[in-house]
Symmetry: C2
Subunit: 432 residues, 2 copies
Amino acid sequence: MLSALDFARRLESGELTPALAVELCANAIAKTEAEVGAFVTLDLDGARKAAATEGLKGKPLRGLPVALKDIFDTADMPTEYGSRLYPGHRPKTDAAMVTQLKRAGGVLLGKTVTTEFAHTDPGKTKNPRNLAYTPGGSSSGSAAAVAAGFVPLATGTQTGGSIIRPASFCGVAGFKPSFGLLPTIGIKCVSWHLDTAGFFAAQVADVAFAAAVLTERDLRVDQRAPVSPRIGVLRQQPWPSASTDMAAALDMAARAASAAMARVKDVLLPPVLSAAFRAHATIHAYEAARALAPEYERAGEVLPALGKKAQDPLCKGTRELIETGMKISADAYDDARRTASQARRAVSDLMSDFDVILSPSAPGAPPKGYATTGSSTFNRLWTLMGTPCVNVPGLADPNGLPLGVQVIGRFGADRATLEAALFLESALARRG
Amino acid sequence: MLSALDFARRLESGELTPALAVELCANAIAKTEAEVGAFVTLDLDGARKAAATEGLKGKPLRGLPVALKDIFDTADMPTEYGSRLYPGHRPKTDAAMVTQLKRAGGVLLGKTVTTEFAHTDPGKTKNPRNLAYTPGGSSSGSAAAVAAGFVPLATGTQTGGSIIRPASFCGVAGFKPSFGLLPTIGIKCVSWHLDTAGFFAAQVADVAFAAAVLTERDLRVDQRAPVSPRIGVLRQQPWPSASTDMAAALDMAARAASAAMARVKDVLLPPVLSAAFRAHATIHAYEAARALAPEYERAGEVLPALGKKAQDPLCKGTRELIETGMKISADAYDDARRTASQARRAVSDLMSDFDVILSPSAPGAPPKGYATTGSSTFNRLWTLMGTPCVNVPGLADPNGLPLGVQVIGRFGADRATLEAALFLESALARRG
């Protein structure tokens, strides 16, 4: 994998040029992209042109190649949202984060595969760790592009588990910041209370570097040793258990942290968090039915004209989500929102004793095949809570398939969360 | 003015047809639109076609003509955001609220003038009450279209005072619901913590009707008599005082409410609300600088190519807002957000004694001329608090210029707020 921080350092020192950085990516892509299928649009010529711009070295990203999940609007590249309703769509305006990345000296390499409208219907991407497995979703191509060594940095979004899960499945670092920390303007909206933008990169320090640059906040964690965190380990939760391998990985992570002098204690979630877990589904579907109402209507208008045997322009998962949401009453939605507010206070209370909570990033290793991108059960609650989450890579099952562990911090405490994730990543690396 | 509720009732009974409703609007528009300039796009042919659709009578809006502020994306009509950067722009997809309006049986008549990107730089619209005066902004055309009797319903958005102020200046009802009640997907974003969608219509019951339909909530206030509200009158505030005429209007409204048996008491804002008033400016500019970063960059790219004497594609007010925001540090922004959270709790405490707060909707009557759309000082704090606000029309200064009073409710208590506004509107009507 390509380290964003290492690239940035070498670009800064002049050891590497932005043009050469693009060629390193292009070479890696030429080798295995045909198998992995991480990109929906690849714009190497555009990237070469951008890499030749004056003054990149003086900008915070220094000419770093970046890939964008294809739900980020780009005026210079098609933006298809993984949807058959948007073939070749060219938005007039870049997403706010795209402008921020360009301004900061990022060189945009292309658009990565997303499930349809960042929900569950998979795209073409395979898991670079083992091509027989799903990369996870919805940010499938971004996670895979980093895992395959195609790019040192890629953007993602999470509404259920769309950053942390694919990061876990692909064995890369994934960072979902506190809700609202990164602007979502120009990112296709599915749920306005859940959609959260974030990053994929090789390691924790790499995602922290990208987040520090984009948010202009003190989030870099590579410049001083992290303080030993107080960790609450979540072994039981109000959703189905993790696999035996994943439970063992969690245990291993907890022991590694403990051995590295972190204070590690088991933690139990208060009952309101079970209700909040269920509330996520209500809020997600209710808002998706409204956010994607224009697409639902358009599909309905197009479908009869296509004839009887025509393919529905909406995939099955998206259609089900919208139609589920259309049946949810305003009362049920308002109740779910109130539950979420209570749960946020409960999390805040719970975390007065801990810096972070440690849990599996996913139910287990990636499922075999491509029919599903896996389950977001271990992520949804935290998306709804708006808390920063980091997938820490480094562990694997006996077949070598990645098993990520999730570091969950306090809302707004993104730095402490990244520091704890770095601490854990280092502890796991020392272990073996 | 055309009453939305009256239109809907007559459409339901068959006394009026959707086609005739469009013609009533078309006739009014033909008479004075050339002077008022409420529309940037008028699509009477499209409206006539939509009015001929089967089954409108059975839908909740029953074929009601609606005008849309031109920051709502429409796939069938240009959407220019009041900006020179978007001439003839055609979004691929409708805003979520546009789809909701169509689904509910609204007939879209056209797009109304907005200040550039819903900020301060005025469009062409004049105040229908007196053409020498500003209609207010940023939802200038929507307020004017209702005041001029062009349409019974128009959409607006408020980031500072962009619904309540123009409603006050034009003498119509304006409703800014609780933050997030109406979806803002596909509405041009200026500030993601402030932008709030709402409505203009002739009277309080009309905006309540529209909000009830679009939110599918029990917000109609025309079907039972409102309960006497407990009103806190805000005569002093941490921003410059209202004009003498406006202070008199507030006093008159308080006395009318009292005479109608409301419990009326003066209220004082706790000190944290002064800090929150200032925090609005920080949050607004910081977020606008990010939300409009793509446009800022585009203007910067286009400008040199246009030559030395070229007009800046960004208006002065927008450019200043963005450049102010670019200078605000993340720390200052985070502080402002924390202040806003504290202030929301303080408002919630303050309102345990009141159903609503009553304040001026604007510093006074509309300013003369068109150079400015007036000041949002009386609205900004409440936009930041996310509380529902209603402009109650009915009062005027000695020159007959409208003076609106603002009914401010508890977050999430949209029905109680609309009821109190209706109560006050009736009390004022009885008075005269």
